[in-house]
């Protein structure tokens, strides 16, 4: 995928790829609390049936998943586990934060043990509000994510720039800069031009 990395894909091909990606999302279910039941109702029940949207909710491991739905209260004890889960997923990866607790702490906004929003740990693509959100709301979130994927510049996403979290982008750019600096030091101070 060298062409994709450099963002030099013809536009029709990009659209084709994006359509394929948006309708074959493998979702990893990360159910933590009440929202997990509504997520189970959306993904597992015959009434809501998420597979008609082209979403497959049963990957065996985060290493096979494109999308993770974090649903429920994230405590400070759980936060490192979620960070690790996100790092195990292959690029390009997307995150839906489901429910008030995962968005911002929800009813536990003043609790000593709850992480107030998972966007402090990992970048989030779609926030689904509610306590808990109805299954229809989660399906709406999935559809929004699919629209987002369709309009995406694949090159940017492959390089890890399409992500919403500016902090993460900044961190990645910092890491890239360090790496480039290290490489250029090895090469005797000759600057390396990165072609975007």
């Amino acid at each position: 995928m060298g062409l994709v990395d450099r963002g030099r894909l013809p536009k029709p091909l990009t659209q084709l790829f994006n359509m394929g990606r948006s309708y074959s999302l493998w979702v990893y279910q990360w159910g933590l609390a009440c929202c997990a039941i509504e997520m189970g109702a959306a993904f597992g029940s015959p009434r809501y049936d998420v597979m008609r949207l082209g979403v497959i909710p049963l990957p065996a491991s985060p290493r096979q998943a494109d999308l993770v739905v974090i649903s429920g209260t994230v405590t400070d004890k759980m936060a490192p586990v979620i960070k690790r889960l996100y790092e195990q997923m292959p690029e390009p990866k997307y995150v839906i934060s489901m429910g008030s607790c995962a968005n911002c702490g929800g009813p536990y906004w003043d609790s000593y043990s709850v992480t107030k929003g998972i966007d402090q740990i990992i970048p989030v693509d779609v926030y689904v509000p509610g306590c808990p959100p109805r299954p229809e709301a989660l399906l709406e979130g999935v559809v929004m994510l699919q629209q987002r994927i369709k309009n995406e510049d694949m090159g940017a996403r492959w390089r890890g720039e399409g992500s919403q979290s500016m902090a993460l982008v900044a961190a990645r750019q910092g890491a890239a800069k360090q790496m480039i600096d290290g490489m250029s030091a090895e090469r005797g101070g000759v600057p390396v031009v990165v072609d975007h």
Binding site: L32, I37, G40, R47, G72, K77, P107, V114, C131, R134
Partner: protein, 390 residues
């Protein structure tokens, strides 16, 4: 004492050495198996560290706290009406049942009692939340043991109950409907007829599950005689609810204490099972769903007319004092010890939730079982993680 000859001694030593060599070759290395903290099939986070010898569990260390949200501390900075919104989320499958003991404790301190119609509606919603809770258990049980179909049936029929709860309260999951002195609203028109229809559907669901799952030979061989809890041990560990009744203890707080609720006005039965194994626990829960549908049907028929709210001041201040109220929730005994100092909010609330005690038996119960039985036992004990860690 007979002395062995040289020859005999040598052969004895040789046989000992051979035994030792065989033991060395057959010996399996111990392994530490980590289960959790999260699994795609669960809702909630519990970590279990198991030390295995071959296929057998040597010891187990359940590590909880991944869902600890600090309820007891949060109630100190909320007012009384706000606390119900919070405690809804302790046992998230039977939300309404969590509100009731707290509201009853506050009413006990204020010396008021809800009107008769409100008591009836409270009891109906309480039993509906029990049905919503345990019907998901019956479906989930199949998934844990490898049968995928029951969970679809459970989700299908559970939606009817959730529609009822939503129709009356406005919330599918967290109704927040109970008020000090009564209820927020009366029931909507046509709700009672709808309830009768849904209860018939739920009883059919119970029959289906009993045929499909409980009558299945694989299911029976995987649950019968697995994870037996004797009566004394269950009492020692402070277990409650269906787990205790499955060990042969005839104890149900709905019947055994008098509360301003409507359970004593209807005819129903407490089911027990003498075996105490995983099958008994599942079976007792199935019967309880049936009993709940019967309770709801009778209450719907006999519901009195009248107001649903007594006179309470606009700003609720609970007088100084302490009160303990517990009820028989879907998972077992749940109680609140409310300490009031005459403020807008409680001074201190101690929450006794059923799952913590029900789960505390796992180190004793899982010792010596085989690895696949861990799943069976944990599924049949049926705890909700928010109810353990609070």
């Amino acid at each position: 004492m007979t002395l062995l000859g040289d020859r005999q001694q040598l052969s004895y030593i040789a046989s000992q050495a051979a035994d030792a060599r065989v033991n060395l070759e057959l010996e399996t290395e111990g392994m530490t198996l980590n289960i959790g903290p999260q699994h795609p099939a669960t809702h909630g986070t519990l970590r279990i560290i198991a030390r295995l010898d071959g296929e057998q569990v040597v010891w187990v260390d359940p590590s909880c706290g991944y869902m600890h949200r600090g309820y007891e501390k949060l109630t100190e900075v909320r007012t009384y009406p706000q606390v119900t919104a919070l405690v809804n989320r302790i046992d998230w499958l039977g939300s309404f049942a969590n509100e009731v003991p707290f509201i009853l404790a506050a009413e006990k301190l204020m010396g008021i009692e809800a009107p008769l119609r409100a008591q009836h509606i409270r009891t109906i919603l309480f039993e509906l939340s029990r049905i919503a809770n345990v019907s998901l258990f019956l479906g989930d049980l199949g998934v844990q043991l490898g049968a995928i179909t029951p969970v679809f049936m459970a989700f299908r029929d559970r939606e009817y109950v959730l529609n009822l709860i939503e129709g009356a309260t406005g919330g599918r999951f967290h109704p927040n409907f109970d008020r000090i002195g009564g209820l927020k609203d009366d029931l909507p028109a046509g709700w009672l007829d709808e309830t009768r229809t849904v209860m018939k559907k739920l009883r059919r669901f119970c029959d289906e599950i009993e045929d499909l799952l409980f009558g299945n030979e694989i299911f029976q061989s995987r649950t019968r005689g697995i994870g037996v809890i004797p009566r004394d041990i269950a009492l020692q560990y402070g277990m409650s609810g269906a787990n205790l009744r499955a060990s042969g203890v005839d104890w149900d707080l709905r019947r055994d204490q008098s509360l301003p609720m409507a359970w004593d006005k209807v005819d129903w039965k407490v089911w027990t099972h003498p075996d105490g194994d995983s099958f008994a626990r599942c079976w007792v829960r199935l019967q309880e769903v049936r009993e709940s549908t019967r309770i709801v049907e009778q209450l719907v028929d006999t519901i009195p007319a009248g107001p649903v709210m007594t006179k309470v001041p606009r700003i609720i201040k609970v007088p100084e004092g302490e009160a303990w109220v517990c009820t028989e929730n879907p998972l077992g005994e749940m109680g609140y010890y409310v300490v009031s100092q005459g403020d807008l909010g409680p001074f201190r609330v101690k929450i006794r939730s059923a799952s913590f005690n029900n789960m505390s038996i796992t180190p004793w119960l899982l010792k010596g079982v085989y690895v696949p039985d861990i799943v069976t036992i944990l599924a049949s004990l049926y705890f909700i993680l928010g109810d353990i860690d609070r």
